[in-house]
Amino acid sequence: MDSSELYNVKQQFFLGAFKSLVDLTLPDPSSDDYTPILVYKARAHIALDDTKSISTLVPADTENLALKAVSALAKYTSGTDAADPALEELRDLCVEIEGEDADASEREKGLVRVVAGTAFARAGEVEEALETLGAETGTENLEAVAIIVQIYLSIHRPDLARKEFERSKQWAEDDLLLQLIEASIGLVSGKDGYADSSSFFTEQLANPSLSSPHLLTSRGVTRLLRGEIVEAKSDLEEAVAQQGGHEDAETLAASVVAAGLLPGKKGEAEQLWTRLTTEYPTHPLVSAVNEKAEQFDEFAAKYQVPPLAIPTAA
């Protein structure tokens, strides 16, 4: 059982309350929780694309494998030239923890796997990520399972995701993360799954111990999927308000979709879209649409356009 402090930190991390996590004061370095909380805090920074502060947060000369892994992930996600070496570093760390004499607790090893798995998944190394995380080996690291499930979902294998989920249900004791996993699967599989996700996010929104605009966005997206566009929009608007008017990419992208589906909101959709493309040019929706635009031109060129019918002088 985690200490209640660590529990709270994990809860905030999983439910996307990164802002409050970033502002968290770290416990005493000698405490047991120090390393794991530092890891989550660092990961919250990374989630907010604030990789620079990692170097100040995590001492460069740390011997701790989990912390090493996190700083490697930070380097990787910063997208600079250091990306490839960082990936290599993570690979090395993975090999290291497999060794007999690895100087790390089980929990730290787990964290290393999770962090490495995240990086591999980001890099598109699906097989490597799954292997690192221990897919289909009955791993009892729920975070690893969460990532495995998401990888499965991203390669359109909800069946495998569900299998992994059912397996972890045996031992995970109804953990919050487990419910989150179920919700993610629900979002992809649809029908009853939407109801699962929707209830989960609604429940967590009522959770008194944290508030996270990410939850609102998540429910907004769920409602979009359920076809409740107006309700979705109000969720998203609330999320924007909670983020002080400067929404993250996800909320903005969802807002574009919501506006696009509401009648009479075409102008708004275009405006939001322009903002999305300028503020978050790397968001997958932007890149997907850009790619589609190129394809359009390519395909359209295949059709011969005949001359316009112009009446000869009558």
């Binding site: 529990y7 991390f13 996307g16 990164f18 990961r43 990374i46 989630a47 995240t118 980001r122 897919a135 990532i147 998401q150 990888i151 499965y152 991203s154 390669i155 359109h156 294998r157 495998l160 249900k169 004791e173 109804d174 953990d175 919050l176 419910q179 992809v188 649809g190 939407y194 209830s199 429940e203 009522a206 008194p208 997206v221 979009l224 999927l225 076809g227 996800e250 969802a254 574009v256 979709v257 696009g260 589906l261 009479g264 275009e270 997958p284 929706l285 997907a288 649409v289 589609k292 635009a293 394809q295 359009f296 295949k302 059709y303 011969q304 356009v305 001359p307 316009l308 019918a309 009446p311």
Partner: protein, 1207 residues
Amino acid sequence: MSVMLTKFESKSNRVKGLAFHPTQPLLAASLHNGSVQLWNYRMGVLVDRFDEHEGPVRGVAIHPSRPLLVTGGDDYKIKVWDLKPQSRRCLFTLHGHLDYIRTVQFHHEMPWIISCSDDQTIRIWNSTSRNCIAILTGHSHYVMSAFFHPKEDLVVSASMDQTVRVWDISGLRKGTPNTAPGTFDSFDTFSTVKYVLEGHDRGVNYAVFHPTLPLILSAGDDRQIKLWRMSETKAWEVDACRGHFNNVSSALFHPKHELIVSCGEDKTVRVWDLAKRSAVQTFRREHDRFWVLAAHPELNLFAAGHDNGLIVFKLERERPAFCLHGDTVYYVRDKYVRSYDINTGADVGLLSVRKFGSPYVPPRTLSFNPAERAVILTISSDNGMYELTSLPKDTAGELKDSSVDGKRGSGQAAIFVARNRFAVLNKASQLIEVRDLSNSVVKSIKPPVQTNEIFYGGTASLILSSTSSVVLYDIQQGKTIAEINSPPVKYVVWSADGASVALLSKHTITIANKNFSQNTLIHETIRIKSGAWDDAGVFVYSTLNHVKYCLPQGDHGVICTLDNPVYLTRVKGKTVHCLDRSARPRTITIDPTEYRFKLALIRNNYEEVLYLIRTSNLLGQSIIAYLQQKGFPEIALHFVEDKNTRFDLAIECGNLDVAMETAKAIDRPECWNRLAQQALKQGNHKIVEKCYQQVKDFDKLSFLYLATGSTVKVSKMQKIADARGDPMSRFHNALYAGDVIGRIAVLREVGMYPLAYLTAKTNGLDELALEILQDAGLTEADVDDVPDFGRASLKPLPVVTDTTNLNWPSIPGGESFFDRALANGNLEAGAAEPYMNGDHSAAASAALDNWAKDEEDQDLAADEDGWDLDAGGDAQAEEGEEEAAAQEEEEELGAGASPGVSETEIWTRNSPFAGDHVAAGSFDTAMQLLHRQFGVVNFEHLKPLFLSVYRSAHAYLTPIASLPPLHLHLRRNPAESSLTRVLPVAVVTLKQVRAELSEGFRAVSGNRLADAQTTFRSVLQSLLFVVIASDSEAKDWRDTVTTAREYLLGVSIELERRRLMTAEPDNVRRGLELAAYFTHCKLQPPHMRIALRSAMQVFTKANNSATTAKFAQRLLDLNPDPKLVAQARQRIAAGDRNPRDAVEVSYDEFIEFEICAASYTPIYKGSPSVRDPYTDAAFLPEFKGTLDPLTRLTEIGAVASGLPAPR
């Protein structure tokens, strides 16, 4: 029935007879020591005692409708007592029996009393004439009981002679009974023995009729209870209940259920199944033999008398299991789960739970899960068990029984804690299991306290009830969040917003917020039954005999009284919804004003307070006291009429104006003094002045004038003092006013020459000093030993600020709102009624809706002549192929982590519509479809649509930080689970396109033709992406396409005409032709009028009066407004006068024609033409193979399959 719920217990001498009062909570008990007690079993008090019998009293009965009690004792006497509280006494005594009297009973309608005795007779008495009217003889031993049939003229008796006899007494009713005493023989003609029931092996102690069925129950010393049935002609033994192991003293039919209740000298009360005659339940007592049993005629209550007193008990809980969700109550009645809609009153059965637990026990609790539409019931039989069942979606036909798919387990409490989790408490092992919907345990919790009950505690939390506290427990973290000391909590009620919770114990209510950080405790002396939250946040609860309210900070009060307990489910405005004891929904109308008022006060919602004050009549000392106590004297002021109270309140809240007014009315010195004091505190010296004036307090007044620097008034005071002849006052005033002369004058007058002299001297008034000396009969020489004091410096201080005319600024209090609204208790000028705004906006939006509806109606008035749908057969074939392909591919999918089929791929497989393919991002197939179906070749204009449709069908979400987001796909059929049928969201809908179309209409009306042209073109583009779900939608779609095409054509023609007019003004003929063609596009009447008027105008200008007249006639047919009618008539007249055309044009309205959409020339019927594959616009054959100039999308004359079949 696993518990006998004891409601009341008394200790006394042996109880031999018992009788319930039919309407009041009273129970009469006759004792072996000769006393008859009257108990109020609800309050637990002895109401009265009747001590006139000598020796044991065995028989007692209460009249079913009148306040009468009858008793029969071992003193051979039958006594009838008045039960009216004010006159409880023995009315009369009936003498006649010759031995102990065993039972007595009133007849239900005749004024008869039946009694039986050890003298082997049964006697019937007329209680009006107080005579014995019949003696039934026949029994050969003591008669132990004799009772009337509840409806028929029958009597059943039991005797020690081992028989039960049924007597026919119908003769007694018909004939006039012989009232003469001593003529016993004549009695026999009125009553006869009908049946003699033999079967008991020992004496029979008790025999009764069934209330409705022809059944008799008898209990005997042979330890058996026998059931007998009778017909018109005979009676026979049906069966016997064996189980008592000593004499059975009494046995009764349960008034409501098919049960028998019996008691005996074996110290047990037993319950039997009437149908099966099997034992259901046994309650044992250690030492007390049971002697008598009584059942309440209406309620589920029994009483049993034993060696040391009596007990009143219930055999089942009456509290129905229920659960509120929104405005629907889910509850259990007669072992059926039902739902009751509070708004509509619809009350329907949903599920049978007859097979759940013991058939005699109703479920104890019900927990409802709206997400899954499932319920969990618990029942106390079988040591406690629960059952999880989903409610059927439709309730038509026979109701589902929960045993079909219910999931059961053992546990004492079970509730839903999340959409797919429920918690089960096992009291014995003290373990709480969290289970999922398939009933498998996902988590086990060891509660931190000895837990007797569990309740929902908010997200992921439980409320645990232990003997001395309640604990809010976090399931996830497995730790206690908060703990409140409280007696055992029995029920928990959450407010609708989940912010507050009420914890109900037997005699206390704890109101807490959602994390238990704040709470208030309320004590009740009467048992608390249930509660519900008002929408405003007031907790309304019911006790045994009241409905009460409780405010969040702990104030509570009575709303109304109750005759019988009810179980509140929901409070909505003035209506309290509840379930009564038999679980039937009821409503009680209450007046919520008082608690609303108090709540508004607490919340400082003064507008609401004012509104309530103004709209309802709140009065009474209690409200005033409440207001005063809570620190709102200014509001209380409003309610008070009494002058004195009003004055007190005004002083208390510092409302000087009101105080002044009331002080004037009262006009007593102590009032003025108090007002003066208060006004002084507030610095309102004007009022102080007035008060002092009223009470003639001259000294204070003078000092006040001095303090305020009002020199004028000081001198006035001086004059007043003069007039009053008060030298002290005159002196003071002179001193205050700095009037030295005056001062000296006073001193001289009173003969204080030394002081007068010195005053004069020190103020340099030597002459005056001399005069004084002379008056005193002295010379200067006499006073030369007086030292020189120099010049006096005493003089009034200069006035710095003219305070006289200024009141001290009064303290601005938080009450300014009420100062305004409640000034002088006058409310007319109060704030606006608080609910107006909402009404206004509602009205405004309604108006908007109406307006929008008008718009829509107009749109619907589109062309009627739709075109045939050419949904080709090849689309069908194509579809088949696609499905086959899909299946094939699915088979190829193997195990392992190889990527699966993406949703977009599935979409493209599932749909033949271009819109769906675009949403799936499969642009090439979409283009192919558009090309094949509509002959689209020029995609350039469609690019924004392609992209926005694609964009709107995909969402991204990152559940796990730092991973690439999940790519999610919006479906238009979110309720579909089969992947072979999922389809993308319909981004462009027909409705939206129609909205755009009407925008185009508005542009036409507004003469913004270029805009209109763009809009109609865009409509035609959007229509390509619309997905059709039904044949009627397909027709609508085609209609919309046609309408848009006609308008586009018309607008294009008119634009061409205008271009021509500026470019080639001489080409009048062409201009006229175009104007005429415009009127032949199929437009809606308002637009057609515009076209016709424009045509009339140009034709008149060209002097083509004949054709003008024709246009005018067409205009008239469209019912234009009167002005246009006049104009049109004029043109027709002109045409009649001059039926000629100056310019010859190629236009003949009598020959049917279509307009070539490229050259804008007529194509007369029968002439060759080519068509646009999409809009079906007509073109001259020469344009085949070119790009359609209307839409600029399609190739004219291309072959197309048209819109695919709807799905």
